[in-house]
Amino acid sequence: MDVLTLSRMQFAVATYFHFLFVPLTLGLSVLTAIMETRYVRTGDPEYKRMTKFWGKLFLINFAVGVVTGITLEFQFGTNWSRYSSYVGDIFGSLLAIEATVAFFLESTFIAVWFFGWEKLSPRAHATTMWLVAIASNISAVWILIANAWMQHPTGYVIRNGRAELADFIAVVTQKFAVLTFIHTVGAAFTLAGFFVAGISAWHLLRKQHVEFFTRSFRLAVGFGLICSLFEVAQGHMSAEMLGTAQPTKLAAMESHWQTRTHAPLYLLLWPDADNERNAVQLLPVPSALSILAHYNPGGEVKGLKDYPREDRPPVLPSFLSFRIMVGFCMLFLALTAFGWWKRNRLTAYPWYLRMMVWAIPLPYVACEAGWTLTEVGRQPWIVYGLMRTRDAVSPIAASQVLPTLVGFILLYSLLGFAGFYLVFRFARKGPEPIERASSAPAR
């Protein structure tokens, strides 16, 4: 295999793995902070136990997320040096801002939070968790501004043989960045809701710590419901934006070949990219694709055939990841809505609780599918319309990349195994007994 393929594989491994941990960090930090604030407000020791129990799971997850994040920064230099050199004026500064405004804050205060239970007043202690939650989400802001710039470059000029910054405000406030951020954070919060709800459901099925896990479940399912409702509405805005910003991605994810107005959306579809058509297309919703893209049934939706083959993204992965993401999101909405409706009689619905346990991995799949669509759908470009992925790779040998790709797979398997083992172990064990954690707020 050539260095391009190996580097792409390595980037995919590093990103997929990193993103198994990031969404839970974004969402569970907020949930833990909410629990601790409730503890400070009410003095109810049950909230302190909740904070500690969910906080412990948060920490294990956070550690793996942090260490695997460095890989992503390094890889732009090691494997994508031509990219770094060409767009570093813009992209590099966004990553540097992320480090100085967000990473320092979260890394310093997560330690203060963990080690500082006896050293800080309860109010100050809860504040440190909020700082961690805010910092994690600020980090998402900057990395997604950077990613949005790759998806939809703006505010730059080509000068001195590279892309140089022309308008910083345009880069950081562009619609693509704003929508990507809201969409990603909404998805991350939904995932955290399902994580907490699923583990709670497992204990509720066994009638263990019923009060503790009923409270956790209610908080999580309410959080998950709001976020997945939001996600459905907002996802529509993102799709509409693709119609103008990235027409090839929109066409690929819908497997839409022929440019036309009143474009229908097929419920049953299977692409046949070789022959530039669909092998199966059934159950059309008339004009739905036009409405999706333009809020107008007469809107013209560009088909893939309008673009040369070398400018089209891989259709099947884009199409599948989009359907998985959207389908799962609808399922999340239904599951959380039911949970919220029955929130006071949860144990009367064991079949529902069982479903919620099994649903824990689904938001993970949906999040990874979302990133697959984002990144694969941008191909063959690394910066949409500006730089091709094949022109971005470092002038290094495949023999250098192969060992590190294997190394990443082995190392990450070890981390994943150990990390999930610990989460599983502590999640099953349940909260610490009330006697040990029931002290009223000190000082």
């Binding site: 770094s84 570093g88 320092f104 310093t108 203060v112 050293k119």
Partner: protein, 341 residues
């Protein structure tokens, strides 16, 4: 002027990273020699516990500064040093998770595995960073296109290896002093005697490195034309000497700050000697990447200067606050509860 300012910030970011994470890397390296049982190992973990993650962000910042201010250097340096950087990354990943995973499970094999990861994950970065920086001081065979014509073995030249040994010793001394501050009883005594034992070796290697730099690099060129810069190696030497004096009078915080100054002085000596090069080419000086030929546009440099000058003082303020908050010794009772590694 902008480029020069960023060059200085670049150097300071690396120096602060070495001064802070240096003690974590050194202490992790020394752990097998210092700790005799599980409780002592836990004290070592918790002596670094509240700090290591915040310290490591200085590495990400140093990388980020390189990327933002000198993207061409970032590209050539990271791709040119592909294999050593990847080894550094693997090591740091292992070290980071060891902290969080190690004490979460009582199994002996589990803990021994993560202890080994901590030691490897501390020693390897200390060594590699030393080898890498010595080679940067010396120059790397990069051509006009920024392609490195050397291999991993090219880096393992005598001067590069000497740099690696110097970093390991500097960081080990720094780590031993940190443990002397943070522990008591037998562990404290072992940390103190290790610091005493390391010192003469460190002094010889440091003197050897300063002398070898005269022959292997152009670092002294800038110093000779601007003699005031000799204050930097002087700071390093003074720091080293003071560290030993404070050790004999058992003033551990003083000794640690002296060691801090030694690392700062040594790094800034190298940085000052490099200027304006960030990555000198050993093939032809005109291929060297400098603060001027590899920098970002003036607009980016200005905006980033605003960001750096507003955020970094705040970062330093809350990191100092966090250090002060957790300055107490780690004791058997402080690690008895659930709020410890």
């Amino acid at each position: 002027m902008l480029e020069t300012t960023w060059f200085v910030i670049w150097g300071i970011a690396w120096a602060v990273y070495f001064c802070l994470d240096g003690f974590d890397l050194g202490l992790g390296t020394l752990m097998p020699f210092l700790a005799k049982n599980d409780d002592e190992r836990r004290i070592i973990y918790n002596a670094m516990g509240p700090f290591w993650d915040g310290n490591e962000v200085w590495l990400i910042t140093a990388g980020g500064v390189t990327f933002a201010a000198f993207p061409k250097t970032y590209a050539v340096m990271f791709s040119g040093l592909y294999t050593p950087l990847m080894l550094l990354l693997f090591a740091l990943i292992l070290r980071g998770v060891s902290f969080e995973f190690r004490s979460k499970h009582p199994g002996t094999a589990w803990r021994a595995t993560w202890d080994a990861c901590l030691v490897i994950g501390s020693f390897v970065p200390a060594l590699l960073l030393g080898v890498a920086f010595a080679n940067i001081f010396r120059g790397i065979p990069i051509d006009a296109e920024g392609i490195n014509h050397g291999t991993l073995l090219t880096l393992l030249n005598p001067y590069g290896l000497l740099g690696g040994v110097l970093f390991v010793l500097l960081f080990s001394q720094h780590g031993a002093l940190w443990l002397a501050i943070k522990s008591e009883g037998a562990l404290h005594a072992r940390a103190a005697s290790t610091a005493r034992m390391l010192w003469p070796v460190l002094l010889v290697v440091a003197a050897g490195f300063l002398a070898a730099s005269w022959f292997a690099t152009n670092l002294y060129h800038n110093l000779l034309s601007h003699p005031v810069l000799f204050l930097l190696p002087a700071l390093a030497v003074t720091g080293l000497v003071l560290a030993r004096i404070y050790v004999s009078t058992a003033r551990w915080w003083h000794a640690w700050f002296a060691s801090f100054a030694a690392i700062l002085g040594a790094t800034m000596f190298g940085v000052a000697g490099l200027f304006p090069n960030l990555l000198p080419s050993s093939l032809d000086p005109t291929f060297s990447l400098t603060a001027f030929n590899s920098s970002s546009s003036p607009l980016t440099l200005k905006i980033m200067l605003g960001v750096a000058l507003t955020t970094l003082p705040i970062v330093i303020a809350y990191q100092v606050w966090a250090y002060a908050k957790f300055r107490d010794k780690v004791t058997a009772s402080s690690i008895a509860g659930e709020h410890a590694y």
